[in-house]
Symmetry: C2
Subunit: 133 residues, 2 copies
Amino acid sequence: MFIELDLQSETPLYTQLIDQLIEGIASGELKPGEPLPSVRSLAEDLGINLHTVNKSYNLLKQEGFLQVHRKKGVIVQPDGMPGVTQEFEEKLRRTLRSLAAETAVRGMTEEAFVQQSRSIYRDILTNRGGEQR
Amino acid sequence: MFIELDLQSETPLYTQLIDQLIEGIASGELKPGEPLPSVRSLAEDLGINLHTVNKSYNLLKQEGFLQVHRKKGVIVQPDGMPGVTQEFEEKLRRTLRSLAAETAVRGMTEEAFVQQSRSIYRDILTNRGGEQR
DNA sequence: ATATCTGTTATATATGTAATATAACAGATA
DNA sequence: TATCTGTTATATTACATATATAACAGATAT
């Protein structure tokens, strides 16, 4: 899987990494049970510190997207992804609310905003490596 | 206008303040040309430091949502709000992409996601104090 | 068995952001 | 003249981010 970090971005490295791993899972590029690179090798590949990768893995494990097997190492959650928790619903609402407000003030219509949302959602599911669905 | 800050939130105070002011403009509760409280009085009302309020005002001024009049003080932009800039488009895409990916992984459908977006957009425009539109 | 790889933990350091505190300035207002 | 405005400067505290180095216990491969 291709991962690219922007060292200039104001988004923290561990957040960028989390985002791209979740996208990988969403698109199907990362399948349940599939092993991820070790914290050390991925850190070296990306040119960052092992602890930064470890932080991303740990947060994803904590939320149920990854598992750590003493034998298999770190793998994509094989027993079903976590559903829509109350915490996620609140985060979703908060973030959409902030976005929608600025969108409205800047004169973008409801339909434009909604179409953007739909288009991006599809984009993610569509970006599969050619397999599945 | 009612402003409430969550001191426990991980969202910075100045960001919470910015969000609520933009919501106020979007909803029509804050009208173009309307004066905002001084940095000192608002800071005291909210129980925070004057520099925190000043930071929010400055960022909003920098993006074109507010004006600073030597006479009238700080007012809501009277000469038309800024439109959809390239920077905003990129921020919108990035944020929606991250949200949509997690939404999809958690099993929320495209329609549910899109409906959330639409519902929240409407919610903001609807929360007017009873005036206008 | 030895060496290597795994995630994990601990400690330390450097840097930047967030938030507060005090003080002062120039322009406008009453 | 006294007061209020945004603005600037300086300092301090606290926290998040990211890195560096080291060590540990469990698993793997030679």
